[in-house]
Symmetry: C2
Subunit: 324 residues, 2 copies
């Protein structure tokens, strides 16, 4: 039997399952993906994970005994201690004992956490967090997600709901309705969806400039269009980027005053605007963070892309095996 | 030699040093205080603490060997790992090796932390937190202080500055200048000082009602006057309480979305308004917290008063000795 030193990371999404095997230091040994079988309330997924892991290990003349553990991230509400999934809408799992099932299939210790938390952990370990022990991770995608790392550990809160940064209220009065049932959430302003919504509102009244023309041509807009047009000094686009970054700067400035992170990492599709986004965000953050916090906190763009989840899942294994 | 089981808690303030000796379970054995000698940059304080501890132990036929450790809280910027005080303005300490000095005087292990953090830990252990592993503590006094407990431990952040809840920006545009250099901080609205300021502003334009009469009579106002008048349905006072609690509800609602605490404890002088304050705060919190978080988070008034600091200091000893 080989000494178990490898870490397996699994990121279960609604369409694909991303998998990777890592050395103990977090270097990739192998990375691949398989489709997610959401039939039958996701009941086949543990078997599928076990099988593809087994096959891949075999190709490397290895087997399950090479694995120190399997970390799994999934979107949804997860009890970390037991690896029990209360609800993962896109996957179909409801009250599903994921850890138990996957351990039964593999005989390898399994650890599970929310995918946003593991993406944050991944960025902390191997990405833009650069090992920072105190970190905020904000994901600007269709919605706004978040993960909080405090003293090297993921913050879960009382019921595993910590990190809902997207539902910080940015517009307390007269805000846009949010999917969560509230109004004026950060997500309604600074997500890709929020940015497009702001742009459409302005286009309907101002009717001029490059972004307006682009919309007339394409019949639709993306947040990338808005950032691109802003970089070309289009007035509407500049206004939208200003508003989205103003509210993001206020929200993360306030969180930084409360949590004093070393680094704030901005990820998700919107973050592809890169340095331009950071340049638009910085003045607002600096204005709303305490002077000493503004000075000492680094804002950085996430740099692991879609790998953050599997890397974070591997970190979860490492962290749990060190703890014992 | 006796087996070291007692915990000493010390809370160093600008005027008095509060001390207490506790059983391992956190029950008071003895509680007392001595004046703070701020002369000579606070240089005599470790000797004073050692002496009064020694004398008090002797009265109980005990000595330093009865102590498992000494926990010390002080207002200021403290490096927790080393017990080094960067700066404690009211005490006079600057770049002061508190842990080292007090250990030299007593030969007992010493642990130090910021007094607001220890007050939060005290409320967690023996007060309104009721053992909650995830807690926010907000102190509404001259300023607004805070302490954050995550998974049973005090959150310090990157440079020990976590918990500056009072400097969350509540009024992003046109806010009142704050001592920190920013404007519109929560502290400018929801502290005792902020509440009185709001009342004075309104009195100057509205010039009627019970609070206005009281001000004309006394020439001054306190936040207690404002809460008392609000309970008597004075219009100005009701407006002020509404504004102070609205902004507090927004700030802690947003923090609760991010941190998912079991309990939020409100302490400090303003919290003497008790249930009336909670009743005024609750609707705003419920509106700005995510529905599930609003439902599951308990808001409670701090109940240890001035003892929170020494109890938290004793907790610090207990927590550190368990860790080894």
């Amino acid at each position: 039997m080989a000494k178990a030193t490898w870490l397996a990371g699994v990121d279960v999404g609604g369409t694909t399952i991303k998998l990777a095997i890592f050395t103990e230091e977090g270097d990739f040994v192998k990375k691949w993906e398989v489709p997610t079988d959401t039939r039958d309330s996701g009941h086949n997924i543990p078997k599928d994970i076990a099988q593809t892991l087994h096959e891949t290990l075999q190709l490397m003349d290895a087997d399950f005994s090479f694995l120190k553990g399997i970390g799994v991230g999934a979107p949804g509400f997860i009890e970390v201690e037991t690896g029990f999934i209360y609800h993962a809408v896109n996957i179909g799992w409801k009250n599903y004992p994921l850890k138990e099932r996957l351990e039964k299939e593999t005989s390898v210790p399994v650890f599970a956490d929310n995918d946003a938390n593991l993406a944050a952990a991944g960025e902390m370990w191997k990405g833009a967090g650069n090992g920072a022990q105190n970190m905020l991770c904000v994901t600007l995608g269709t919605g706004v997600g978040g993960g909080i790392i405090s003293e090297g550990l993921v913050v879960h809160g009382a019921y595993g709901m910590a990190g809902e940064i997207g539902h910080i209220t940015s517009v307390p009065e007269g805000g846009t309705p949010c999917n969560c049932g509230k109004t004026g959430c950060l997500e309604t302003v600074s997500s890709a969806t929020g940015i497009v919504r702001l742009a459409m509102e302005k286009i309907q009244t101002q009717k001029e400039g490059a972004l307006y023309s682009l919309f007339n041509e394409k019949g639709t807009l993306t947040s990338k269009d808005v950032f691109d047009a802003a970089q070309q000094h289009d007035t509407i686009a500049l206004d939208v980027v200003h508003e989205a970054m103003y509210q993001l700067g206020l929200a993360i400035g306030n969180l930084a005053n409360s949590l004093n992170p070393n680094v704030i990492v901005i990820g998700g599709g919107v973050s592809r605007a890169g340095e331009y986004l950071l340049k638009a965000l910085h003045p607002h953050f600096n204005r709303f963070a305490l002077p000493k916090i503004a000075e000492e906190t680094t804002l950085r763009i996430a740099n692991l892309g879609n790998d953050a989840g599997v890397i974070g899942a591997a970190w979860l294994v490492k962290q749990n095996s060190m703890r014992r």
